[in-house]
Symmetry: C2
């Protein structure tokens, strides 16, 4: 089997509200599903507070370990939006007013007869040499600096920004998947499934228990870069289920 | 103002399914809300794959930085449940069959006339010197090793385990909070709110935008260990809103 090209990514979700339980994050699962389809492996996510040092450390660790790093949150107009300052610090560059961002925002507010306050002007700031990410929902842009994609935390805006950058992301081999619902608990299938996992080294097999009051069942998810390998593992799991049923009806 | 006792925690959510977008995590927000009430500051969360090295690294980094570390996921009976092996590796100890866990599981399955398979026996394994965490939902226990609390990923079981360990957790000063719904966008209040944040150094003020088709509004959340400081900040924000309304009706 030829080696598939693997592309990996990490994400940092930024915001005190995610760590206080005030807000249930939705961006992580959205990005995960998006990258999965794109052939980019989301390898790690960190949720950090609105704390400059925490952001700088996470950014510098993860941008060097992965092909892409995505961040969500902290690029709005208020004092607690410190992401841009921290990203600039992580890269050792200055925060500047990005001319193109400024003019987009100025014309947006002017056309709506809304004052372009200093707080709103803050949303035109980026680290030096950043490339803007369009925001089809509410104009204020995100930006790209090297392999780091800085996006908003509001889910509708985050999703719009993901769509904006989609054409620029280079995916690798798509991870194919198949899943089988299994009417047995993990304790019943665990032993056999371990053997199947060993027999299928090119397939990652996940087992996800469901507990419905008194009954356990399991979803078995198989993932591989090779369709043939995936088909083989799927066949093995189906045979296992037939075998269990035969034993039970004895 | 006397210095409040600060207690901090981190969490590691373990599982490929969280990084593929298959599963929307619910445990993070649940733990966050629980710790918040308990006076424990959840400072960082990492989501990592079912990958031994990734788990070991995250565990060793976070257990040394925080008073408590909580993990979710990867302690079930199947081959992809590798958390216990990784935790033992992080502490440099052996994985053993925990006698008390074994006897709980054995009697549970025996009483239900269910075979106590090797896969199910795997759930009795812990690192050496671990203390069990009760599982009121499905018996298979979690465990504590030093300051690390290893719990299940299934939300109902995770929540039950949190309740089990609750009496043992030592909280610090409770973070008090107040919130004000504000009918203005962040761009309108951002400048004034920055001044209020500067005037109230003992209060952390967060500003959370809401976008409802065409209208922006904001929720302002204030958090402090001091009720007096919180009251003062709340008064400042209310005065700001009165001032804005007065200006708009001019």
């Amino acid at each position: 089997m030829t080696q598939p090209t693997l592309v990996s990514a990490a994400m940092i979700a930024i915001g005190d509200e995610l760590l206080s339980g005030r807000t249930q994050d939705k961006n992580i699962a959205h990005l995960a599903r998006f990258l999965n389809v794109k052939g980019i492996d989301l390898a790690e996510v960190r949720i950090v507070a609105d704390d400059s040092q925490a952001i700088v450390e996470a950014v510098n660790t993860l941008r060097s370990q992965h092909d892409y790093l995505f961040t969500s949150g902290g690029i709005g107009p208020t004092h607690d939006d410190i992401t841009t300052e921290a990203i600039a610090k992580a890269f050792g560059v200055q925060v500047i007013t990005h001319k193109q961002a400024y003019s987009r925002l100025a014309s947006h507010y002017h056309s709506r007869n809304i004052e372009f306050t200093p707080a709103r002007q803050k949303m035109a700031q980026t680290p030096e040499n950043a490339i803007l990410i369009d925001n089809a929902v509410s104009v204020a842009p995100g930006y790209i600096i090297q392999n780091v994609y800085v996006m908003a935390g509001v889910p509708a805006v985050f999703n719009a920004m993901i769509l904006s950058v989609e054409p620029q992301l280079q995916g690798g081999a798509i991870l194919l998947s198949a899943s089988i619902d299994c009417p047995h608990g993990e304790g019943t299938i665990g032993g056999e499934l371990t053997l199947i996992a060993k027999q299928n080294p090119h397939v990652s097999i996940g087992s996800y228990p469901r507990f419905d009051q008194q009954t356990y069942s399991t979803q078995i998810v198989m993932r591989s870069h090779s369709q043939d390998a995936l088909d083989e593992a799927e066949k093995n799991v189906e045979l296992m289920l037939v075998k269990i049923q035969r034993n039970e009806s004895k």
